[in-house]
């Protein structure tokens, strides 16, 4: 490996939601049940999900009429 290694901080096993736009993220945060499982907003479109609550979040999103893409 000729090139220098890039210093980076790694956050492992992070659960998060990425929305198409910030307005949709606001809409999700406005849902009280969903908001309980969201512990923070990383950027306008990215919400951090409480560890171990992804299944419940996906179910709640589906109840809201969304069809979230679960990316693994």
């Amino acid at each position: 490996m000729d090139k220098a290694r890039i210093p980076v901080k790694l956050h492992r096993r992070v659960s998060l939601i990425q929305t198409e736009d910030a307005v949709l993220a606001e809409e999700l945060l406005a849902n009280k049940k969903l908001a309980q499982d969201i512990v923070g907003r990383l950027t306008g479109r990215v919400l951090l999900v409480r560890a171990g609550r992804v299944e419940g979040v996906v179910q709640e999103l589906q109840k809201m009429g969304h069809t979230p893409q679960v990316v693994t």
């Binding site: 901080k9 659960s15 923070g40």
Partner: protein, 728 residues
């Protein structure tokens, strides 16, 4: 590959034998000439089992009951059998001691007990005496060799030759009924899991659903005989096939097993072998949850079909005669005077019916075996059904070498503009059933079936790995006409909607020191989605090539948050250890603190609580308990007084500025006396120290007077302004 799994299981089993027992078995199986160590002896046994010539020699050395029993197992395609079933099969074939036949096979090293992990076995007869739910298995390589030997089955009873029109009206099902029903069940379970009770039954609502659903319980289009509880049979078969599985008492849908990608005969063979392991359904009483300990039906199903395999060409058998033969010989159904002790001990909860009409085998033959394409049927001389094995049945039972050839009709469906799909069964295959089931809902099953495309079903398909393109491709490939444009558009809309929200359950998030570093990482092939100037997300950590990176910190978000905050002496400045902090911390801090200018120092970043930042936090619901909890979690320390002050200040009562005087006395005894003497006690506001006492300015005259009575002179210190008033 499957054989490797069995070989490994056999190795484990042989390791569980006591050395003496292992040597006895090895002496029969591989006849070693030397005293080999145990491990080597096991290797030699495994080599013998995998050697067809050796297995053939050992089979020839067996007595007839043992060889017949092994042949039955071989024909069944199911290597695992309950020992009780094997005993019953042996007795039904005329052997007076079925248990001995099983033990002989154990001793010959051709049949093996299925043992729990870490258990040891000293003698086979001791193990056989342990209970009624013991299982044994044959290595598939041995099972395949037994097909070469005639099982010495008796002639099939009730044979008939068809004449006239009966010869030309042979009925043979298409074999698709049960794959279709399982697909329907899979969809229903995917939509709403089935909940089980502790007794392995279903809760009432689910049970009613399984007993009344028109698709699961309706009669097949080509129906010759009804089955009891067909919906629950579908559940049992789906469980045995691992199409659905038990997850903490709930039955949930899994992926379609690999058998669905094979030919229809292979798929039917997998259903047949699954049928031989059903514990909670039988063809007489239907659903019997938790009651069928020692279920005798699997062995009886096998015997019935193998008897049909003995029919001469062009001959048929009467199901009634066949069932009568079975009832007269199978120990479970034999009349009381013939029943032996071992038969009485098995399946005490099951009802025994000893008439052909009610014993459950006519429904098995005409209802299940017919729909599984194992048998053909025709009308006999008296308009009653007669049966024989079908070519598929002969192949499944190892009585024919080649799978029956099938004609394929790839273009077998019609997609209609109203999003309905019409499917003609002639062109269906298990693979196509599985594909269609993933993205469309089965509406009707019949000679022609219908499905409905819906947003939910398309979403489910996309979630299980399909794409808009693959769905359209499946429709195009199998449709007789081009897919209508509105249908393609609807599929596209539903697919796009899914892209609006992505959920990453366990992503790896890279936090770079600079935007340039992140660009460099992307240039080196990091498969990441960019979330900001310095943040990049990788959905699957295994896709990361770590050789390009030097980790300056790692945080695992499944673990509890680390204590990574140090509180500086001022009580409002927080120093963050960046190597241990997490993303949540920064979002948490942003609610009540601000970044201290000056950048990161020694991998630490500083935040400060200010009245303004804390006020903003209060606006968003921050309160003392929340902040106290945060301080404990993140720093391991209590909320500092200064921070508490910033947060609770607005709630505090108004501060009062009062003019007060401090009386200094000569010694502690005088102070104690003044504090205790009733005349002066009421004039003292507070004891400030050993010789210092707080008094109100208004009380000074009274105090002076009392002190004079004590002989103590009061001296007032003048204020700096020298205005004569006492100094504050």
């Amino acid at each position: 590959m499957m054989s490797d799994t069995w070989t490994e299981q056999l190795r484990q089993t042989l390791h569980s034998y006591d050395e003496g027992l292992l040597r006895q078995v090895a002496n029969r199986l591989c006849k070693p000439r030397n005293h080999w160590p145990v491990d080597e002896l096991i290797d030699r046994c495994l080599a013998a089992v995998g050697n067809p010539a050796v297995v053939d020699r050992r089979l020839k050395e067996l007595d007839e009951p043992g060889r017949n029993l092994l042949a039955l197992i071989g024909h069944s395609r199911q290597p695992r059998w309950q020992v009780g079933n094997l005993v019953e099969l042996s007795v039904a074939l005329g052997n007076s001691d079925g248990l001995q036949a099983v033990q002989t096979l154990f001793e010959a090293g051709l049949l093996y007990p299925e043992l729990t992990p870490r258990s040891r076995i000293k003698q086979f007869d001791q193990w056989l005496g342990k209970g009624n739910s013991l299982w044994a298995y044959v290595h598939p390589a041995t099972g395949a060799r037994t097909l070469e030997f005639d099982a010495q089955l008796p002639k099939c009873p009730g044979t008939q030759t068809l004449t006239g029109s009966g010869r030309h009206q042979v009925h043979e099902a298409d074999g698709l009924e049960w794959p279709l029903r399982l697909a329907v069940l899979w969809q229903q379970v995917a939509a709403a899991p089935l909940r089980r009770t502790q007794q392995h039954d279903f809760f009432k609502r689910d049970l009613e659903r399984l007993r009344s659903d028109p698709l699961l319980t309706g009669a097949p289009a080509d129906n010759l005989g009804d089955l009891p509880d067909p919906g629950l049979l579908a559940v049992s078969l789906a469980l045995a096939q691992e199409l659905i599985h038990d997850k903490d008492g709930e039955l949930v849908a899994g992926a379609f097993p690999s058998a669905w990608q094979e030919s229809l005969p292979s798929m039917l063979a997998s259903l047949w072998t699954a049928l031989l392991h059903l514990e909670d359904w039988n063809s007489q009483q239907g659903w019997q949850p938790g009651e069928t300990h020692g279920n005798p039906y699997p062995g009886a199903y096998l015997l019935t079909l193998l008897l049909l395999g003995n029919l001469p060409e062009e001959r048929w058998a009467s199901p009634d005669e066949l069932v009568r033969w079975l009832i007269d010989r199978h120990p479970f159904w034999r009349t009381t005077q013939h029943r032996n002790a071992s038969a009485r001990s098995r399946a005490p909860a099951l009802q025994r019916s000893t008439t052909p009409d009610t014993a459950g085998f006519i429904p098995f033959l005409l209802g299940l075996a017919y729909q599984l394409r194992l048998i053909q049927a025709a009308k006999g001389p008296e308009e009653s059904w007669v049966v024989r094995l079908s070519p598929t049945g002969r192949w499944i039972l190892g009585l024919a070498d080649q799978q029956p050839a099938s004609t394929t009709f790839p273009q077998t469906l019609l997609v209609q503009p109203n999003l309905e799909i019409l499917v003609y069964r002639q062109g269906l295959t298990p693979d196509l059933i599985a594909r269609l089931s993933r993205f469309a809902r089965w509406k009707t099953l019949g000679a022609a079936c219908t499905l409905q495309l819906e947003p939910e079903t398309v979403y489910r398909a996309l979630e299980s790995g399909d794409s808009f393109e693959s769905i359209v491709q499946t429709l195009e490939r199998h449709s007789m006409k081009p897919t209508p444009a509105p249908v393609v558009e609807a599929l596209r809309t539903w697919s796009n909607k899914r892209d609006r929200i992505s959920v990453y359950p366990a992503a790896a998030l890279f936090e770079f020191a600079s935007a340039e570093d992140m660009q460099e990482a992307i240039a080196r092939g990091l498969p990441a989605v960019l979330l900001g100037e310095r943040l990049a997300l990788v959905a699957n950590e295994s896709a990361i090539d770590y050789r390009h990176f030097r980790l300056v910190g790692t945080r695992d978000y499944v673990l509890p948050p680390e204590k990574c905050v140090e509180i500086e002496p001022d009580g409002v400045t927080l120093s963050i250890d960046l190597a241990r902090s997490d993303l949540l911390l920064e979002t948490e801090l942003a609610r009540f603190a601000e970044l201290v200018p000056g950048g990161d120092v020694n991998n630490h970043r500083r935040y400060r609580l200010t009245p303004a930042t804390v006020a903003a936090g209060r606006q968003q619901g921050l309160n003392v308990p929340l902040l106290e909890n945060w301080f404990w979690r993140r720093s391991g320390q209590a909320l500092t007084s200064a921070s508490r002050l910033l947060l609770s200040g607005p709630d505090s009562p108004a501060a009062e500025l009062r003019r007060q005087l401090v009386l200094h006395v000569a010694n502690e005894e005088i102070a104690d006396g003044l504090e205790q003497w009733p005349a002066t006690r009421g004039l003292i506001r507070e004891r400030l120290g050993p010789t210092a006492i707080l008094v109100l300015e208004d009380d000074v005259p009274a105090l002076e007077e009392r002190l004079q009575t004590l002989g103590i002179k009061l001296q007032l210190e003048e204020s700096p302004e020298n205005d004569g008033s006492p100094q504050r």
